[in-house]
């Protein structure tokens, strides 16, 4: 049971020629539950965007195992909350992978929508306009949509923001249920205690993987310290590549240095 779901090969992702994920190599096992941790600007969200394909790699590639469908819950949703839609309309978008643009929604689909809402504790919210939802309720609605997408690979970017403690518990339970169903899950989390308690594996990022593997090992104090120090070093100095492998990149970085001073880390 060591099939890979995702393979990163020399993956570099970024914005305006500034790398936010730098030459990442490695693989995500099928059915694994991985927490992605790191400071602001360490490339967590960027990695998610790269995996789901909304951000094209600057170099290298992400290889998905054939037939793997991804569901993605972004940190900053581009959701238009003033759009006249009800909760059921928003959640039903999750049927897209199954029904596509033209397929009719069946009674079974509608049942699935209410089941998904029930699962996130929003049973009976179908008819509510989305502009009347609280932040946490909206987040749970989006979870219901992910649930409905029935994906093999689930990417959640800081899903616990603005969510109360009880709901975090519910959502964690949901994630564990997915884990039990052999789905591959990656979650960006800031709360390290939460990671230690619930996630078997962790990827600690600071633009490059500082540590990656079993959570207890990865989150050792020395690794965390390294992650922090590495990050600070990056702000002061331009990034550097191995000369033999990525010779052409050096021009870029020399150039970037001038621009990047004082700009701070990019939102990731």
């Amino acid at each position: 049971m060591t099939q890979t779901c995702l393979t990163f090969r020399d993956l570099t992702l970024g914005y305006n020629s500034h790398p936010a994920i730098h030459h990442l190599d490695g693989a995500i096992r099928k059915g694994s539950l991985t927490a992605v941790v790191g400071a602001n600007g360490s490339g967590k969200s960027t990695l998610m965007k790269g995996i789901v394909g909304v951000l094209k790699p600057m170099a290298g590639e992400v290889i998905r195992a054939p037939g793997v469908r991804a569901a993605y819950l972004p940190q900053q949703s581009e959701l238009d909350r003033s759009f006249p839609a009800r909760v059921v309309d928003l959640v039903s978008l999750g049927l897209w992978p199954k029904r596509g643009m033209l397929g009719r929604y069946t009674g079974e689909d509608r049942e699935a929508v209410s089941q998904a809402l029930m699962a996130v504790g929003l049973g009976g919210f179908e008819k509510r306009p989305i502009d009347t939802l609280s932040g946490g309720q909206l987040q749970r609605t989006l979870f219901a949509r992910v649930l409905l997408q029935d994906a093999d690979l689930i990417l959640l970017d800081e899903p616990f923001n603005a969510v109360d403690a009880k709901t975090v518990g519910d959502l964690i339970a949901l994630i564990k249920r997915w884990h039990g169903e052999e789905r591959t899950i990656m979650v960006v989390v800031h709360d390290l205690d939460l990671v230690r308690q619930n996630f078997p594996e962790t990827l600690l990022l600071a633009r490059q993987p500082v540590a990656w593997g079993e959570t207890r090992e990865t989150l050792k104090p020395e690794n965390l310290l390294r992650a922090r120090r590495f990050h600070e070093a990056w702000e002061e100095n331009a990034p550097w590549c191995e000369p033999d492998e990525h010779a052409h990149d050096h021009d870029h970085h020399g150039h970037d240095r001038d621009h990047h001073h004082g700009a701070g880390p990019r939102a990731a």
Partner: protein, 291 residues
Amino acid sequence: MDALYSLFIAPFADFGFMQRALFGSLMLSLGACPIGVFLMLRRMSLSGDAMAHAILPGAAAGFLFYGLEILPMTIGGLIAGIIVALGAGAVSRFTIQREDASMAAFYLISLAIGVLMVSIRGSSVDLMHVLFGTVLALNNEALTLIDGIVAVTLVSLAIFWRALVAECLDPLFLRSVSRMGSPVHFIFLGLVVLNLVGGFQALGTLLSVGLMMLPAAAARFWTTRVEPMCVLAVLIGFASCIAGLLLSYHASLPSGPAIILSAGVVYFASILFGTRGILRARIIHHRHRTA
């Protein structure tokens, strides 16, 4: 009874040009009003206005070479509209400039070229005709064209409905599950141009956007769902066309402005009395439920 008949029915029963005007404007509402709803929901209400100005040089070019003929003017308008839509879109995508600014630049240039072209050949009467249209002079050719545009619009909306709603509601989600995002945006812009071009013979380039936006803006005050909003916008469009034509007939007013002003009256009424309008919000504030 007779008075009612002569007020509401007789103008349409007795005059062929009124029947055509009614039929043409109702068809226009059927296509343009749902498009207006989506323009509004995408916060592109003023882009519609800009696009309406942008089709002028194309229409003028058709007019310049073929005279006051519907087909060349329509095709010209279509080409000009598409050039401006794509040009403004491309500038905003490949440069730092936002779409509102590039759209403004493109349509102003386009409008100036259009006015210039009309003035080279025609009299100011012709310019007035292109700018303000004449719904009372719709010929069979124009009606056929409008029918075709409405058919294309409704079929496209039916096919792309789900993608269009998804693109408005949550574009990032759509990008994560499908590649339809960009195509659907451009298809939608195409439909906008098409409906404006369809409307300019009847209402003129300046006012054709009115039949698109005003019913949509009014419908927003009555419902919280897209589907009923589109239906309601179409009904408001219908009512405005009928009221406008009657007003135009009885009071000898120009038909285009009369139709748009009728829609304007519905809009103001909706602001005040709509279920999401001002008065209702004030009254409801005094009462609330326990949970």
